[in-house]
């Protein structure tokens, strides 16, 4: 980086000084300062709503600061739009990808580049760059055929082609398997060693401790601390983020489990989706008072498994799924809810909640078929049914919303905001709380704390444990092994639509789980290799 020498008046690549951003009455950023050196992986930490996204958007030119200044390699700059940011050498990989499924990798990348780029030459460059950085990509592959991890690689390669000096990554590992995440860390280390700065936004404190050199922590829009993450523990980082100590989840392995409340026997389900996974002969029982977790790498049939349990996909044989001893494989989700089962899907927006409906209407989404709301209110008040004689009782729905948001500490600006206006963690607390309010005897949760901050995750996990200790059967589907070991009494592993038996969690080591997942994993890799050769 010789050409930078003349202008270099600062050792910092990027400095954001005294940034303040006001939205109406909310101070999303309040006098925040962040500085980052070349070759440094810098963590930006904070709970949901702490102002991380706002700060990053200001740096990337999507938002303009109300006051404060940006300095790029020592010079004051204004960044009016993302194109200007890219011109400076700032690249960003968003949490939500902007890719066209029906186009190839090369076509997708060319869309982000000037229109005079030669597609043929571009393919070559993509191949070189992606292999150089350990992010192998086939330039002619269709995006629709790629895994989430591979899609992320496209976004990263797209940035790398523009030879950025600063790469911003918004929660990159939230969508990755542990193996894919490890691969990403190698790439980031390589980039840093070449002098590229990385601004790394994450909730996962262990990985921040592992790969980051420096950390800026935000809390409620203000700068809470600037620390060296390698000198901290995950617990001390969490405390800095949340402001108080995060309560460790109580995991008293309570009384002996009771009768099985959720039983799956020889559950098979063929998929008609070409990207789907068929379920093969799954047997599992979850007993009253226990939490069984299903571990597995993303895309091994978890979605189909959840749908088969919830009744969004039905089975032809009634006996394959039993709730409280009664076969209900052919029943839909409404009938299964009437059997005191409740479900929390992986996608919060668009599956677990309607994005542009207020929370009270999202209560109706899963409470409409339940006779009288079995509300846990704490004050002993029973809720009344949300729907009577086909008509919705809005007051009853609002009451449920109030109770749920209070008990689960859902933070929101107005009493009844649209679901999409909530941050991920707060919406997840609402969605989980909504089902908890029904006091279900069987609860099935898919990825309970996906993309959720530490405080919310602890609260949700505690709620799951408390529900089980109260005598319900809880099935947790998760890719997060830390979470699984924190809450589960027994653990099963799903891979390529097949499920292992459930082992008591104290009998299973990380390695053993890894082996159970890896059998299928290697086969997948082999298949991919064959496909590539052919």
């Amino acid at each position: 980086m010789n050409e930078t020498g003349a202008n270099e008046t600062s050792k910092y690549l990027l400095e954001a000084r005294n940034i303040t951003k006001v939205f109406g009455e909310l101070r999303a950023n309040d006098d925040v300062t962040l500085s980052l050196k070349p070759g440094e992986i810098h963590a930006l930490l904070g709970e949901n709503g702490a102002g991380k996204s706002t700060l990053v958007k200001i740096i990337y030119g999507s938002l303009r600061a109300t006051s404060g200044h940006l300095f790029w390699r020592g010079r004051a700059v204004t960044v009016p739009n993302p194109a200007a940011a890219r011109e400076l050498g700032i690249g960003m990989v968003f949490q939500h990808f902007s890719l066209f499924d029906a186009l190839t990798v090369t076509q997708n990348i060319s869309l982000a580049l000037p229109s005079d780029v030669d597609i043929g030459a571009l393919s070559g460059r993509i191949e070189t760059v992606s292999n150089d950085y350990g992010l192998p990509l086939r330039p002619d592959a269709l995006v629709a055929d790629l895994s989430v991890g591979e899609r992320q690689r496209i976004e990263i390669v797209r940035c790398l082609l523009q030879e950025p000096r600063l790469l911003i990554m918004d929660e990159p590992t939230a969508v990755l398997t542990p193996q894919e995440a490890d691969q990403l860390f190698v790439t980031l280390a390589r980039l840093a060693s070449e002098g590229c700065g990385v601004l790394y936004i994450s909730h996962r404190l262990e990985e921040v401790r592992r790969i980051c050199h420096d950390a800026t922590i935000l809390r409620h829009g203000k700068l809470a601390a600037r620390v060296d993450p390698q000198q901290e523990t995950a617990a001390s980082l969490a405390t800095l983020m949340v402001g108080t100590e995060v309560a460790a989840v109580r995991t008293d392995k309570g009384t002996a489990p009771g009768a099985p409340l959720l039983e799956l026997s020889s559950l098979s389900l063929a998929t008609d989706d070409q990207f789907g996974v068929s379920l093969k002969n799954i047997n599992l029982a979850v007993r009253a008072g226990e939490i069984v977790a299903v571990a597995g790498v993303a895309g091994n049939g978890q979605g189909e498994f959840f749908d088969a349990l919830s009744g969004e996909l039905t089975s032809s044989n009634n006996a394959t799924v039993k709730i409280a001893g009664v076969g209900c494989g052919r029943e839909g989700i409404t009938q299964r809810r009437r059997r005191d089962a409740a479900f929390v899907p992986e996608e919060r927006l668009g599956h677990g909640a309607v994005p542009n409906f207020p929370l009270s209407e999202n209560v109706v989404l899963t409470h409409h078929s339940v006779e009288a709301t079995r509300l846990e209110t704490g004050d002993g008040m029973a809720g009344s049914a949300v729907v009577r004689n086909g008509m919705i009782d809005r007051d009853a729905a609002r009451y449920v919303n109030r109770v749920v948001t209070e008990l689960f500490d859902v933070r929101k600006g107005t009493p009844d905001p649209e679901a999409q206006s909530l941050s991920g963690g707060n919406l997840q607390k609402f969605v989980v709380g909504r089902e908890m309010a029904l006091q279900p005897r069987v609860l099935v949760v898919n990825q309970p704390t996906w993309g959720v901050d530490a405080g919310a995750a602890a609260l949700i996990r505690q709620a799951l444990i408390d529900l089980a200790r109260g005598g319900s059967a809880v099935l947790v589907i998760s890719q997060d092994l830390d979470e699984i070991f924190e809450v589960a009494d027994r653990i099963a592993v799903i891979s390529r639509g097949e499920m292992s038996q459930a082992y008591p969690s104290e009998e299973l080591s990380l390695e053993r789980i890894g082996l159970l997942m890896a059998g299928a994993h290697e086969a997948v890799a082999r298949n991919a290799g064959e496909a590539g050769a052919a």
Binding site: P80, I333, G350, H351, N356, V364, M391, E418
Partner: protein, 359 residues
């Protein structure tokens, strides 16, 4: 400087109601320019078009006669579009309703009883609903695009009408004109007052209020809104998308069919080769102008009825084609859809795509 659309952090509640008004305003302004380019005084032309129809009792009655079918069809379509179900074939369902309902007076010419009228209305609704079920079933079973199938079925219905009116249902004493026997007594809708306003206007109002309650309060209305917004969340909620598609099509078809038989048993008094001046298509605009809200549709229906009357008035007084009404309606639909952008976005002046500026 360039104009940019900036996404609002939340939907603008003001714009939800202002955007149709804005669309209407722009339509009038552009209409003024069109009149001027035709060599007419734009203010006089606009007056004749939009104000004159509301200045006499006669024309206000005529307004209600024209607004009734627009509202009746428009509320049904509003429900469809809320569910993301695109019924474009209300004109065909209207025709089929008119055919079904007319069977009674044509086959039982001398039967006189209040039951006749009730039967005619019920049959009209059934005819429209059954005809609308065709595109719904094709969509549910084969994934056929309902926009195409429902639109094409309009022409099928009109050709069937044309055939029966020139063939089996032709009035034997009608001097070979393509029309049915004239309906009489209980075969006609009772009039309200002295003029031409008939029971259909009341039925349209009742339909609008009932559907407003259904959409706002009932679980069925909730189901329709959820499926329209987020089908996956709908499935999670236990709602079946296919059932909603069929329900919305049959409901809107029934209302269109009812409007059809009301036209035949009301203003025209007999079955003729042409039943409506495109009410089924204009009602699409009515539904959107009313922001898919049944109460909003009432006002939108009255507004669009003015454009029909204004078209006739302009033809008489200004000597311009009554196709001008369709020009206005087309412009209005485009502008409504365009202005809806402002609910989610604001227009902002921004500096041009310059490079990075030194501070």
């Amino acid at each position: 400087m360039i104009l940019v659309l900036e996404k609002r952090s939340r939907r603008s509640q003001a714009m939800v109601w202002l955007s149709p008004v804005l669309a209407l305003g722009i339509t009038v302004v552009i209409g003024g320019f069109i009149f001027a380019s035709l060599g007419l005084d734009p203010f006089k032309a606009l007056y004749i078009y939009f104000i004159d129809p509301m200045t006499s009792l006669w024309s206000i009655e005529e307004l209600i006669v024209k607004a009734a079918p627009l509202v009746m069809i428009g509320v049904g379509l509003a429900i469809c579009y809320t569910a993301n179900v695109w019924n474009i074939g209300a004109e065909g369902q209207l025709t089929m309703g008119a055919l079904f309902g007319s069977a009674i007076p044509i086959y039982f010419t001398d039967w006189q009883s209040p039951l006749v009228l009730v039967l005619m209305l019920v049959l009209g609704a059934i005819g429209g609903a059954l005809f609308a079920a065709i595109p719904a079933l094709l969509k549910n079973r084969f994934g056929a695009n309902e926009i195409l199938t429902s639109l094409m079925l309009v022409y099928v219905a009109q050709l069937i009408l044309d055939w029966v009116i020139r063939g089996p249902w032709k009035d034997p004493k009608g001097f070979n004109f393509p029309q049915s026997v004239s309906f009489e007594g209980w075969q006609l809708l009772p009039l309200l007052g002295e003029g031409r306003v008939h029971l259909g206007a009341v039925l349209a109002l009742i339909a609008a209020v009932l559907l407003w309650v259904m959409m706002g309060r009932s679980l069925r209305g909730f189901e329709i809104r959820v499926i329209g917004n987020s089908p996956r969340a709908g499935a999670f909620s236990g709602f079946a998308q296919k059932k909603v598609v069929l329900f919305c099509f049959m409901l809107s078809g029934a209302l269109a069919g009812l409007a059809g038989i009301c036209e035949v048993a009301g203003p025209s008094g007999q079955l003729q080769p042409v039943i409506s001046p495109g009410y089924g298509f204009t009602a699409i605009i009515v539904a959107f102008l009313g922001r898919l809200n049944p109460i909003g549709v009432i006002f939108a229906g009255i507004l669009l009825a003015i454009s029909y009357l204004g078209g006739e008035a302009a033809q008489v007084e200004l000597g311009i084609s009554d196709k001008m009404a369709q020009v206005f309606q087309g412009m209005l639909l485009f502008l409504i859809l365009a202005c809806e952008t402002l609910i989610h976005y604001r227009i902002k002046l921004a500096p041009g795509r310059g490079a990075v500026k030194e501070a």
